[in-house]
Subunit: 142 residues, 2 copies
DNA sequence: GCGGCTTTCTTGACTCGTTCCAGTAAACGG
DNA sequence: CCGTTTACTGGAACGAGTCAAGAAAGCCGC
């Protein structure tokens, strides 16, 4: 192929100077397969894949991968932590008030929406996170 | 005075069809006095005012006032719930990654920033919540 | 003002997501 | 292949928030 192939999970880990372990590979794949999955769902997916894995290992891996920039963590009010593999593109999320469903959204304003606040109170701002609240199609129709 | 005076806490409660109790008045005043206060700080302030008050009462009041629109609840990732009395004006917040300090921000885009998502995935969106992440003046200088 | 209905507060137990800790296992560089 | 470093296991602990039953207090009509 002419363009570089998508990096494998192993390449992603090595590229981030992280040791390659079964648990980390399984977590990475689980989050890829279930975007916006909560920790519990990741634990289930990893155990379905590997058998016995401590919940602590999954928490550690999720944190390590998030700090390394391989995962992004989101946590809308009233929800537990959720993880996704789309990182670095400054996209945002819609959350259903009724069922908690989450979907990706690219902000209409462009790549860095609303990044300039009118009055930053002296803060040095490096990221603007937008959460849209509303009702998902399934909850709207019922 | 020619223009209407700011409503008293009691008037706010009555206007929202809520019973007026000492606990509710104290919570309202506590949040007014300490914008972005977390639940724990509200409990402390209320107890300093009234003496013995159960934490459950404060949780109940905070929820009731939030549902009535007298308070707004915010909960940045990695923080506990915080409350403020500025409601209905669609303002946003800057949060310090280092110390967790919160400040109000009016979005540069205007009154309803970023409310139109480029692709809403079929969701009916009613609110856009923006959180700016950065470093506060105190943490920047140290 | 007074009784009665309804909402709210108190008390205390409890859930659940997450973190801490000590010991064991596994990755990786030499 | 061996030693060092880092990760994983298992279990206990923590803390914000919730649940439930009974007591107290607000509010409405008289």
């Amino acid at each position: 192929m002419s363009h570089p192939a998508a990096p494998t999970p192993e390449q992603l880990l090595r590229g981030a100077a992280l040791r390659v372990t079964r648990q980390r590979l399984a977590v990475l794949q689980a989050v890829q397969a279930h975007p916006h999955a909560e920790t519990d769902a990741v634990i289930d997916a990893v155990r379905a894949d590997l058998g016995v894995v401590s919940h602590q290992a999954v928490y550690d891996v999720l944190r390590a991968l998030t700090e390394a920039g391989l995962l992004r963590r989101i946590q809308p009010s009233g929800s537990v932590a959720r993880y996704e593999t789309r990182t670095g593109d400054n996209h945002h999320h819609v959350v259903c008030r009724s069922c908690g469903a989450v979907a990706d959204v690219d902000c209409a304003t462009g790549a860095a929406p609303c990044l300039t606040a009118s009055d930053d109170s002296g803060f040095v701002i490096d990221e603007a996170e937008v959460i849209y609240w509303g009702t998902c199609p399934a909850c709207t129709s019922s």
